[in-house]
Amino acid sequence: MANALTTELKLGLDAPICLTWELTYGCNLACIHCLSSSGRRDPNELSTAEVMAVVDELHEMKVFYVNIGGGEPTIRADFYDVVDYCIERGVGVKFSTNGSTITPARAARLAATDYLDIQISLDGADAATNDAVRGDGSYATARRAMDHLAAADFGPFKISVVVTRENAAQLDEFEALAASYGAQLRLTRLRPSGRGADTWDRLHPTNDQQVALYHWLLDRPGVLTGDSFFHLSALGQPLEGLNLCGAGRVVCLIDPVGDVYACPFVLHDTFKAGSVRNPGGFAQVWRNSSLFTSLREPTSAGACASCGSYDACQGGCMAAKFFTGLPLDGPDPECVKGHGEAALAGVAAGAAPSPGPGHSAPVRLLSRRR
């Protein structure tokens, strides 16, 4: 039954189930694993009117909810108007934030809004671990935002953690932290996307950590994962979820300038399907773009074909393969059977596609004045 559904979903849907919409490339932080290499705003970002027109379109397509992110979406002056408009049009909102703009007053207003979920990013259970990735002071900022949401009785917000080699041993602490706030814990996978391409080698979990994570998740069906870890299903009993790469099939990304990509982790020309600014708008891209059409065609298992776990693991994540220079129809670089590591060893230095400079803020040189 689950497999019949997977087959259906691979053919694509009338509208995405899970649409990520990054509203700005601007961000006050510079996390070293940022999937969108955010920092500076792009002068070409969608205007308020353009954003609202996209919301109208999502409403017409019956997109039930959007995951709004960035950059730090809340730095857009029209951010809360956009949120209100989405909700008014029946498009539920979940937004991701580093917490820096969640003041007590803002938290009170958010608590009074229905159909709104908030996700605070935290990548370490203590300041040292978190700030090494997200920047000095970012742990305190995130905790303060959580305090404000809890004080305002927001309800179960989400704490979103990218699992890394450094924090993989802190899962119990994250769980306890979430429980202390009545929050939900969400774990996602580190991909070599954006600035993550430069840090993935040293930050991605070891295989032992992956195995421990798999069992930890199996024991805790209440922990959310956004389907991140389906490549771990090759270890045995499949993790709960759709267990497939949804890129262009059930998932996609609208970036701050309106370009549509197959998923949030593939900001690269190869996976750009079109723009909401083109005639026909988002619906045209989703339904008819040649990229998405081809992603919905049957895929070959490639080098995974001889692996007995392909049904469960589907060869893993397309983005992870692409940015590490592996063939898309073969094992994931973090293949739990070790085939990824072997394949990685064969990738020539510099052969992996570059994610480009993105919107990282210029490196600040030490000032010689004074």
């Binding site: 039954m1 259906e8 039930f64 909810y65 939900q184 069906p221």
Partner: protein, 110 residues
């Protein structure tokens, strides 16, 4: 989708054929090739209705005096059990529920 998707094997409370049901007012359906996607804005859960007919049954439950009447009108008898199971799973995840009039009726009964 973990934690959002209703797992196919979710233990279900049985629906009752003699009661009138309705789709929860916070649920929206979107037709898809395989049937429909259902989303519950309240509990943020997503459900796959695996045939167009099931989608029709869910959407029109409230138009029939009882769940059994709806099945009799719309679904071939051989599939009633399957549909009752599917509807029970939907009731468990709060996508459908006894119509409010039914609640009132039950209350006056005690």
């Amino acid at each position: 989708m973990r934690g959002v998707l209703i797992p196919p094997g979710t233990a279900a409370g049985e629906v009752r054929g003699d009661l009138r049901y309705r789709m929860d007012p916070q649920v929206a359906l979107r037709p898809e090739r395989f049937g429909a996607l259902a989303y519950h804005y309240g509990n943020r859960r997503l459900n796959f209705l695996r045939s167009p007919l099931l989608a029709t049954v869910v959407e029109t439950l409230d138009e029939y005096p009882s769940l059994q009447a709806s099945l009799d009108a719309l679904v071939p008898a051989a599939q009633h059990d399957t549909y009752r199971r599917a509807l029970s799973a939907l009731a468990t995840s709060q996508f459908i529920q006894p119509s409010p009039e039914e609640d009132r009726g039950q209350r006056t009964d005690d």
